[in-house]
Symmetry: C2
Subunit: 394 residues, 2 copies
């Protein structure tokens, strides 16, 4: 097993009514003026935004608001937030929303705190941030794990490039408020996309080519079983508190580092393949991952069929004999069956994309940074490999 | 399930040779003068202390040393450390050892940073600490989980009272260096006592009387299976790196809060019953827990036989039919079989204690704070209950 670093300083408040404590938490952080950053109108309609403002006012904190963050959050909004924060002397960023809003906060935090460079350079990975404004989150969708993670993903409209930042502990939120009830009103498609994203954060770390830790494996397998079981419940009972809670906590644990202890960097090829889809076609991240995963898995599983067989046995209870190839394939099919059972796509057509050969080529060209990088851990993928996987998924 | 708070800010460096980075880590903490606190001669003999000193010197850090911490660490040593830190203007405490050394550091940290009161008051729980000196740990035994926890336990020689402090995030170590190789030379009895302690930190949180979280349950069950499996390997192969690593990481996870998410405070009666044994008879903590656990479990399991049956099924693969009572008892027996298989005691006699009725009564009298408190969660235990459990364990 590999050496590892584990660092998850985010304070989590989990459960009913916890969002009402946000003013107190912010006060403890010693801040003075807060940017409340949010997405569309649902935070307004649900009354959440008003509750948050009231909690901040009760704590004697000043604040400004900035809404309008969209899925696959945009660089232009980040720059707008940066200007606002500078103008208003904001010293704390509060995300009220899901991964898009949290990631937008992280990018604003980098932009404000590192005036010596263009924030996009942290996504091109040509520069490393030295500071970040402190961030807190009130989560309204279980999916990205950004509420405890060290990464963020932004889409630059100039070229529609969706890129992850350099990973840095600087952007890990100071606190995350997880109230499962805030996710009750999510549309089914978003709920289930979120479940796929959570599974994928675990699988990206799980599928590696070297000896792993038993304890990390069994935590990861338990987490995946929990998500699969509860994602199915949420198809019928979107207001089942326990199911929402299980998925929500799994979402944070799947991306805070716990499921990667001893598995080094993981694979992440699926995420990178999906980022091009998200950048070019603005699809829901989790759905995009579901559409690609089976094709990726079939393309790479022969690099380590034992690992895929372990996954099949321990996540889907598929009897594992000595034929690892067969068990591995059965596991891949079982995951795709699960995707279908929660109405997630298993190919690009089901995702709503009918792509030409040129578009497929462009995806691979962009994903390979114009044929200059490979991606993936269990198997290194060059531009031609990427193109084949996109074609398999078509 | 209950609301919960989760906060584990300790930075973990895990793996081979990680202790050589201690100087760099301390430098990052911005400290100037470090107390290197340690136990007996093993840290000297193994060369570890010299390596630590060299790393600090390389980083340009000043330091003083204080050895002589014993198992069931003493208040007198804490006070000695406090005086030394004040005299030398120490601003960071580095524990090189196991739970006893880390706990001694935590108590010194409280004592130095809260000159307004007697540090023992934090253990009597009549005062709450406002500050603590920062602490780091290089772990040499996997057991206490103190390297990531918010608690510490000290024995006051005046009355031989072993008491846990008020739980406070102030004392959570800033970093923990976990190099499994540093545990290779531990005597078998200490290794296996440590494994029992790790299991018990999980079980104390697991055995509750209300609805829990699936994901926490399955993480806890996976953790217990990992420890049981690897504790057996370590009986034959004390220098098996992977087995040492699995147990070491399980030790930190079992007590950093992860296994308590949604289970509120847990039970902790076994720990409190053992603390009296440790205070009066200076036994190894894990061995003391093993000697008491079966008696405690048989005394309380009927409060929630389904929970004990789930434990039997998911940790020991015992088929669970509808007879929860029978399955519960089989699970208790399986855990005791495990204790025996790693040469841990399952009663006080095997622990080396032949106790009189008067001594049993005194244990219960002290554990109940002179018949003024109850302990336990799954079942509230008063002084008479405690006495019965000690008698069952005799």
């Amino acid at each position: 097993m590999r050496n590892f670093k584990y660092y998850t300083p985010t304070q989590v408040l989990f459960g009913k009514d916890t969002h009402l404590q946000v003013g107190t938490l912010l006060k403890q952080q010693g801040c003075h003026k807060v940017l409340i950053h949010y997405g569309g109108s649902s935070a307004v309609r649900s009354g959440l935004l008003e509750e948050v403002k009231a909690s901040l006012a009760d704590a004697g904190l000043e604040f400004v608001t900035l809404g309008g963050v969209v899925p696959n959050p945009r660089l232009s909004k980040v720059l707008e937030g940066m200007e606002l924060c500078r103008r208003e002397n904001v010293d704390f960023l509060l995300a009220v929303g899901g991964g898009s809003v949290i990631d937008s906060c992280k990018a604003i935090g980098y932009a404000v705190a590192n005036p010596w460079t263009d924030v996009w350079n942290f996504f091109l990975k040509t520069e490393t941030p030295k500071e970040c404004l402190p961030i807190g989150a009130i989560l309204t969708i279980a999916a990205s794990g950004s509420e405890m993670s060290n990464s963020c993903v932004i889409t630059n409209e100039d070229g529609w490039l969706k890129r992850g930042s350099i990973k840095s502990d600087l952007c890990r939120p100071r606190f995350a408020i997880l109230n499962p009830r805030l996710t009750y009103t999510l549309p089914q498609y978003q709920t289930e996309s979120g479940c796929v994203d959570i599974l994928m954060h675990t699988m990206e770390r799980y599928f590696v080519n070297f000896e792993t830790m038993e304890i990390t494996d069994s935590i990861s397998e338990a987490l995946m079983q929990t998500v699969i079981y509860n994602a199915r419940i949420l198809m019928k009972e979107p207001q089942n508190y326990n199911a929402r809670a299980e998925v929500m906590w799994a979402g944070s644990l799947s991306h805070n580092g716990l499921t990667g202890c001893g598995t080094d960097c993981g694979d992440w090829a699926c995420h990178q393949l999906e980022h091009e889809l998200g950048g070019m076609f603005d699809v829901a991240h989790g759905a995009g991952l579901a559409a690609l995963w089976g094709s990726w898995a079939r393309y790479v599983y022969q690099e380590n069929p034992e690992r895929f067989a372990q996954f099949a046995a321990n996540v889907f209870d598929i009897p594992c004999g000595t034929d690892f190839q067969k068990t591995a394939l059965a596991g891949i099919e079982a995951m795709e069956d699960f995707f279908r059972s929660v109405e997630m796509p298993t190919n690009l057509r089901e995702l709503g994309l009918i792509l030409s050969d040129e578009e497929i080529h462009k995806l691979a060209f962009k994903c390979s940074f114009e044929d200059t990088r490979t991606i993936g851990g269990i198997r290194q993928l060059n531009m031609k490999d990427m193109e084949k996987i996109y074609l398999m998924a078509r």
